[in-house]
């Protein structure tokens, strides 16, 4: 943690969000210990830090899965049927939006707009984009991932 704090030598309130962002980039999520440490460094109560961190959508308090799905739910994707895809994806991955499954294999996040409205609907899996997806291609995608996982086991 110390090496992160050295980038913020003054340790002011305005550094709170940047610090949390750096921690999440590095560790994947915000754990209780890290939040305690940030509170001690910035002299802000952990309650207040939780208040800020839970307000924003991009802070997580648990790890994501090995395959992190981000489904776009922008207006263009919605009219292209992203809601049906979300239901299907929740069924296929056996997780709800914003959750990670118990085995740590899959997690699903609903994004407000990934910014490729012309290729809607789209899903991003670990920085790889899949565009113009249909129910069939989605099923195929999850099947392939599961197969790959089974092989490596």
């Amino acid at each position: 943690m110390e090496h992160i704090f050295t980038h913020f030598p003054n340790g002011k309130r305005e550094d709170l969000i940047p610090i949390l962002q750096v921690i999440q980039d590095e560790k994947g999520f915000l754990s209780e210990e890290t939040i305690d440490a940030v509170g001690k460094y910035l002299r802000i109560s952990t309650n207040k830090i939780y208040g800020v961190a839970t307000f924003y959508d991009n802070f997580r308090f648990g790890p994501v899965g090995r395959y992190h799905f981000r489904l776009c739910q922008g207006t263009a994707c919605h009219v292209a049927g992203a809601s049906t895809l979300q239901k299907e994806l929740e069924k296929l991955l056996k997780v709800h939006a914003g959750e990670t499954d118990k085995s740590g294999l899959f997690s699903l996040e609903v994004a407000s707009c990934l910014g490729a409205c012309g290729l809607a609907p789209l899903v991003e899996v670990n920085d790889e984009f899949y565009t113009n997806i249909t129910l069939e291609s989605l099923k195929e995608l999850v099947r392939m991932i599961r197969e790959k996982e089974n092989e490596t086991l």
């Binding site: 309130r13 969000i17 307000f55 991009n58 263009a76 919605h78 009219v79 409205c117």
Partner: protein, 650 residues
């Protein structure tokens, strides 16, 4: 003169171009600039459109294929990661410029087409299999015969590209090419020959209005901040852009980050601020990376920082990565977020121009508003006023998406009709279905319908039809879209994004969503009480919406019921069909579907019988089955499992 090394280039650009007002008169300087800008080339030059949209379409693979090809052939070719020209449909776009010849653009170049394309074009042949989409006309270069120009392409012919003039054309992270194209001239001229009050005056006179949705005159805001007395002032660029369905700000930042820095510098100078924050969403990683690189270059050239070009002006530009919250688009909420607090709006007055960041005068401007500023300072007020309509000057950049042939980032002069946008620029609808509406962004919730399609892009004209221009997320819908479902989707978005400060917005959006869900969902028990609840909810919608919009503090809360109100206004029939007949004509609301079994097609395989979660299907093996409608919850499982297409939807 010849420009040999990087150091020479830098000195040339600073001394002969930025600091010398006679730069335009000398033909030798113009020629050198055209080389630096990449208009003329010594060796072939290849640009790959590598904005986020291009990357999603596979531009990275194309780029690497080109790189490998060039390494294999040991060819003396410059390869550039470019920005986005705006026509996302044709991505990945590859531009090729041969010495002495006009630049060509090839669309949809997948990685496996690279070999044959480059084999042909680098040997001066036009590839037969892949004709170029367009060429960039340039009087100093030889034109390719038989290839239309960019302006002749239907997507671009109706556009007027002022803010996007360099997008997809220059190397986004090369300060040299930006300066060679006329960048930073306006800033350096401004600080050497205009007082801050003059700058505010020029911007006020130009009639530039805020492009983030509010349409508030930018000059007025600046003047208020300039006149406020304080030892510290701040300039904030709002690059949050969280309307789901818009990415034009991100696209122009990725394609030309230097102009945002230049604009932030001019704005800071105009109000006397020594620090400018560019508040940009954390997810826009490419835009952030390019901005950071551009900022580093600007700092290196001495364009930002302390004592800029010996003028005594100190302006520092800082990039702030914003955590995600829709409400950050509101200026007071944005300021709170920069201060490290929850992004909750505060009441106005005091306006940020008087008491903003850390209680100091602060102006908050949208990215698009700022992109206009260097142009106005460079070309003058009169020039700016020639574009657009009487009351709305300049152009509007927006993301065009939905059920259209062409889509992408578009810039049109104010006063262009929506019909032209859909049928000329957008190329008409993709499917055979009819046009239904255009959604003008979630924060306005207004629709352009068939009847109002001739309305023009203009703040006043849209206000007259009861709408608002919004930030610029135009989603075109055809008859296959259910408007009630869309209104429910918008309401769900607002419920999720409500910051929770004002009770009418926090509780009201939740209640509105409940009503909308009742309208689009099959009730668990279809008894008279639930029917009454459904009717009652809809009866209350209007007064509820009235309370929310009147008593909420910020524009997010105020505009949250607009989508529902406008759906009630323009698409009442559809609403009624959902409430009374329980029918969704577009067949989108899955919960309202009624499933039944075709007795002739059913083989009695019992697949649906076994899978039905509520035992709503009766029948015995090898005999046609039957769905008990009273029990059916409309989950669609039977439809999915039937192998004989015997389950039908009414």
């Amino acid at each position: 003169m010849s420009v040999e090394t990087m150091q020479d280039t830098r000195q040339f650009l600073t001394n002969k171009v930025l600091l010398d007002p006679r730069r335009d008169e000398d033909a030798g300087i113009r020629k050198s600039l055209s080389y630096i800008a990449g208009e003329r080339v010594h060796n072939p030059m290849i640009y790959v459109g590598m904005g986020t949209c291009g990357r999603i379409a596979g531009a990275e693979r194309t780029f690497h294929a080109i790189k490998e090809y060039l390494e294999d052939q040991d060819a003396n070719v410059t390869l550039v990661e470019g920005g986005c020209v705006g026509l996302c449909k044709e991505e990945p776009i590859v531009d090729i410029q041969l010495p002495g010849k006009a630049r060509l653009s090839f669309g949809r170049v997948s990685h496996d087409q690279v070999q044959s394309l480059l084999d042909d074009i680098l040997n001066d042949n036009l590839p037969d299999a892949k004709p170029p989409q367009w060429q960039y006309p340039n009087p100093i270069l030889q034109k390719w015969e038989g290839i239309s120009t960019l302006q002749e392409h239907p997507f671009f012919s109706g556009q007027q590209r002022l803010l996007m003039e360099h997008c997809g054309v220059i190397d986004p992270v090369s300060i040299d090419s930006y300066i060679a194209k006329g960048g930073y001239w306006a800033f350096i001229d401004t600080i050497s020959s205009n007082t801050p009050a003059q700058v505010c005056g020029i911007i006020t006179e130009s009639g530039l209005s805020g492009r983030g949705g509010g349409g508030y005159p930018a000059g007025k805001k600046w003047l208020a901040a300039l006149e406020a007395v304080s030892d510290n002032k701040y300039m904030v660029c709002n690059a949050v852009e969280s309307d789901p369905g818009s990415y034009m700000n991100r696209a122009i930042i990725e394609s030309n980050p230097h102009r945002l820095i230049e604009a932030a510098l001019i704005a800071s100078y105009a109000i006397g601020a020594s620090k400018a924050f560019i508040f940009i969403r954390e997810e826009f990683s490419l835009a952030i990376a390019r901005l950071e690189e551009a900022l580093k270059q600007a700092r290196d050239y001495g364009i930002t920082g302390h004592h800029i070009f010996d003028s005594g002006v100190n302006i520092e530009v800082v990039i702030k990565k914003g955590a995600r919250a829709f409400v950050c688009g509101e200026e007071t909420a944005l300021n709170n977020s920069i201060e490290g607090k929850r992004a909750m709006p505060t009441s106005k007055p005091p306006y940020p121009a008087e008491q903003g960041l850390w209680q100091h005068p602060t102006i908050v401007n949208n990215v698009e508003t700022l992109y206009n500023v260097p142009l106005i300072m460079k070309n003058g007020v009169e020039w700016f006023r020639t574009t657009g309509t009487e009351k709305s000057n300049g152009t509007k950049v927006f993301t065009l998406s939905g059920r259209l042939q062409n889509y992408g980032t578009v810039e049109v002069p104010m006063g262009t009709s929506f019909r032209d946008i859909v049928y000329d620029i957008g190329g008409g609808l993709k499917s055979k279905q009819d046009f239904k509406a255009i959604v003008l962004g979630i924060n306005t919730g207004s629709y352009i319908t068939k009847e109002t399609l001739d309305t023009r892009v203009d703040f006043e004209e849209l206000k007259n039809i009861g709408g608002a221009l919004g930030s610029g997320a135009f989603v075109v819908l055809d008859t296959g879209v259910c408007m009630v479902d869309l209104a429910r989707f918008f309401t769900a978005f607002f419920k999720k994004e409500s910051c929770g400060k004002c009770i009418p917005c926090r509780e009201g959006t939740a209640r509105m969503l409940e009503i909308m869900e009742n309208a689009t969902r099959r009730p668990s028990e279809n008894n008279s009480f639930q029917t009454l609840e459904r009717f009652k909810g809809v009866m209350q919608l209007k007064s509820l919406a009235g309370v929310i919009s009147e008593t909420s503090l910020c524009s997010l809360g105020k505009s949250s019921p607009n989508a529902i109100l406008n759906t009630l206004k323009h698409f009442k029939q559809e609403f009624d069909a959902h409430i009374f007949e329980r029918k969704c004509s577009a067949n989108i609301c899955t919960d309202l579907r009624i499933y039944f079994i075709d007795v002739d097609a059913c083989t009695g395989c019992t697949a649906c019988f076994k899978k039905c979660p509520v035992d709503a299907i009766i029948g015995s093996p090898r005999y046609p089955h039957y769905i008990v409608q009273d029990k059916c919850i409309g989950c669609g499982t039977c439809f999915d499992v039937c192998k004989f297409n015997a389950v039908l939807i009414k």
